[in-house]
């Protein structure tokens, strides 16, 4: 039972990060119908910037309080990522809004490759160690242990997710975003500045992504120029699992995927009589995805899309 509880906690921690990143994918998809392949790279840039700022600050004043340190680093990372998202949308996606569908997908892939290699040139190929800012305390819940960093991750992601849902459902901006995703043309006729809303959507997604990047780097204590790729892929999978374009679906999908992965990794050996080991954890996630999509082709919470008449 202890192992199970432990895997559930690990899954929740992993899942809340997936959910944060998945929100970025799903928001953009909901409005533009575009898979923003570069979103994983934005997450990576967020982690890298925060790490660079922390290292620089620590070098200048080693006895700075951890909270100011992380606050400054996060602010810097979020600013850079938001600016990056703004540039991306303005320069690479907006001109292609009416182009054939695969064209923006290819530019997104291009941006992803570009960002990854720029990061590699700036920060090098080596794994970068994240300095231990917070003291690690381990807490006991239901016979499983959780570190303070992990608690922090779950709490922060929870707050951000609830905050986003509140913004989308109860503010003027949120209403404009929902209207734009329903129909850009009609939203425009209602006096909504569609371009601005799309731009803002990208930026909010990027800000969430930057935070997710910092959390991941803090959790594993390493950062690497290629860390965004797999994370982005998993998060996108989570978004599709939940029903892409649906905010609640992204959160649900993220948490589910995290749980499936960690529980699957813990038990797959026993289930298959030792035939498959924990290195098949990714297979597990993708098989679940395929099975879910076979029975619910638009994801768990996705709306049934009527066929084009």
């Amino acid at each position: 039972m202890d192992i199970f509880a432990q895997q559930v906690i690990n899954g929740l921690v992993l899942g809340s990060v997936y959910a944060l990143v998945a929100l970025g994918y799903t928001m953009v998809y909901g409005i533009l119908g575009l898979i923003n392949f570069a979103h994983g790279e934005v997450v990576m840039i967020g982690a890298m910037i925060a790490l660079a700022v922390v290292s620089a600050l620590l070098a200048v004043s080693p006895d700075m309080s951890p909270f100011t340190l992380i606050l400054i680093a996060s602010a810097a990372a979020i600013l850079v990522c938001v600016f990056l998202a703004f540039l991306m949308e303005r320069l690479a996606y907006r001109p292609l809004r009416n182009a054939p569908r695969l064209a923006p997908l290819i530019t997104a892939i291009g941006i992803s490759i570009l960002l990854q290699n720029i990061a590699m040139i700036i920060w090098g190929r080596k794994y970068k160690m994240v300095p231990q800012i917070f003291p690690t305390e381990t807490h006991e819940i239901f016979g499983a242990s959780i570190t303070s960093v992990q608690l922090f991750i779950v709490a922060i992601s929870g707050v951000l997710m609830v905050g986003l849902l509140l913004v989308v459902h109860f503010t003027k901006l949120g209403r404009a975003m929902r209207a734009t995703s329903e129909s850009q043309r009609v939203a425009g006729l209602m006096g909504i500045n569609v371009n601005k809303i799309i731009s803002v959507t990208f930026m909010i997604g990027a800000a969430l992504g930057a935070v997710a990047g910092i959390l991941v780097a803090g959790n594993y204590s390493v950062a690497h120029y290629s860390m965004g790729f797999m994370l982005g892929l998993k998060a996108f999978t989570a978004a599709v699992l939940g029903g892409i374009g649906n905010l609640g679906g992204a959160v649900l999908g993220g948490l589910l995927l995290g749980l499936i992965e960690s529980i699957g990794a813990g038990y797959i050996g026993n289930l298959t009589g030792g035939f498959l080991g924990s290195n098949y954890q990714d297979v597990f996630a993708f098989v679940v995805l395929i099975v879910v999509l076979v029975f619910r082709p638009t994801g768990i919470m996705g709306e049934r899309v009527s066929e084009r008449a």
Partner: protein, 366 residues
């Protein structure tokens, strides 16, 4: 300029003799090309050309799925992997099997086709991006299995991969040795070039014939509007499965040739980035247009190699030192090229003349 070229092309194509002459010239040029390359820039370039031909075959296979039938496949490299591993297992010391070329070719193609149907069957109801993510997952699953099937029973040799794959030998001619025919010495890479060229020409002919066939028109109908296609009496299930199977077959054969040319396979060659690379060839060249895809494949497989070999010397000549790692620079420019080409020509470099928006059924939301 473009007008003149078009008129010239029209004049040539309308004149049967000129057309024939054009084909003969092209044929001679293609036949002489490897010797030209190996005598000027070195034999490595013939090898690069060999790989470019394999990529072209792969891209044409993906074009059937994405370009003709409009099914976005992000895990296409899985079939390439299946073909390569089938070949590797049947002709290497791994299991001690050494089947001849003519036996492995249909087996490899068949196994890949079966995998194509395996992927296609559960995804028939999915469309657009849901299909994309499932195919992506399928590709990853195949790669993870290849990476881990070294225990409890050693099938794929895990991350190390399979070594010492037999070279192709046709009619007693071993394709790795140098042969003397008509007083000209043909080295291994040259013979591979001719074999691959022949297979590629066969693939091109197949694709062009398919496109204009009953099946090709059915694919086009599904691509443009699946519901309407169904209403017209097209069995969309079978036709879609056929697209997956045929695309996979070409991928599988290309994979087998890759395995035998390279002599070894490892899961590393079949990552998601490779799938994306092939998709880029298709889209950049002009989705759904056989010659456009061919152009895209050749450009994207040869240009990066040229960059790889010239990046360092040029930097040294201009700045006096190598500032940016050539590998990073190559990918940097590749990413930039993708963005710029799509911004300037969203339909690809050489789109099909009769081309309507593909796969944009959900974009027009208003």
């Amino acid at each position: 300029m473009r007008l003149i070229a078009q008129q010239l092309l029209k004049k040539i194509t309308s004149n049967k003799k000129a057309l024939l002459l054009g084909y003969v010239l092209l044929f001679v040029a293609l036949a002489v090309l490897p010797f030209l390359l190996s005598n000027t820039v070195g034999r490595t370039w013939v090898r690069i050309l060999d790989f470019a031909l394999i990529y072209a075959m792969l891209a044409l296979g993906l074009n059937i799925v994405v370009g003709f039938a409009g099914l976005l496949d992000l895990g296409y490299i899985a079939f390439y992997a299946v073909g390569a591993y089938t070949w590797a297992l049947l002709a290497s010391p791994q299991f001690g099997l050494h089947l001849p070329f003519w036996a492995i070719l249909p087996i490899g193609a068949g196994v890949a086709a079966i995998f194509g149907v395996l992927l296609g069957a559960p995804t028939l109801r999915l469309r657009g991006d849901y299909l994309a993510i499932v195919t992506l997952g399928f590709g990853e699953i195949i790669r993870i299995f290849l990476n881990n099937l070294d225990h409890p029973i050693n099938v794929t040799n895990g991350p190390i991969g399979i070594n010492k794959i037999d070279p192709i030998s046709i009619g007693g001619v071993d394709l790795t040795r140098t042969h003397e025919w008509f007083g000209i010495s043909f080295s291994g890479v040259h013979i591979y070039y001719y074999l691959l060229l022949a297979l590629l020409i066969f693939t091109i002919v197949m694709c062009v014939r398919l496109e204009n066939s009953r099946i090709g028109r059915a694919w086009l109908a599904i691509r443009e509007d699946e519901l309407a296609a169904q209403a017209m009496g097209i069995n969309t299930r079978n036709i879609k499965l056929l697209a997956f199977a045929l695309g996979a077959t070409f991928g599988g054969v290309a994979g087998g040739l890759f395995a035998s040319l390279q002599g070894f396979v490892s899961p590393e060659s079949f990552g998601l980035l490779e799938s994306i690379m092939v998709l880029c060839m298709v889209v950049l060249g002009g989705m759904g247009h056989v010659y456009g895809v061919l152009l895209g494949a050749l450009l994207l497989s040869v240009l990066p190699e040229i960059l790889r070999s010239t990046a360092s010397p040029i930097q040294r000549a201009v700045f006096g030192d190598v500032y940016i790692d050539p590998e990073a620079l190559r990918m940097l420019l590749f990413g930039l090229a993708l963005i710029v080409v799509m911004l300037v020509r969203p339909t690809g470099l050489w789109p099909a003349p009769r081309r309507r928006t593909i796969l944009d059924q959900d974009v027009d939301r208003d």
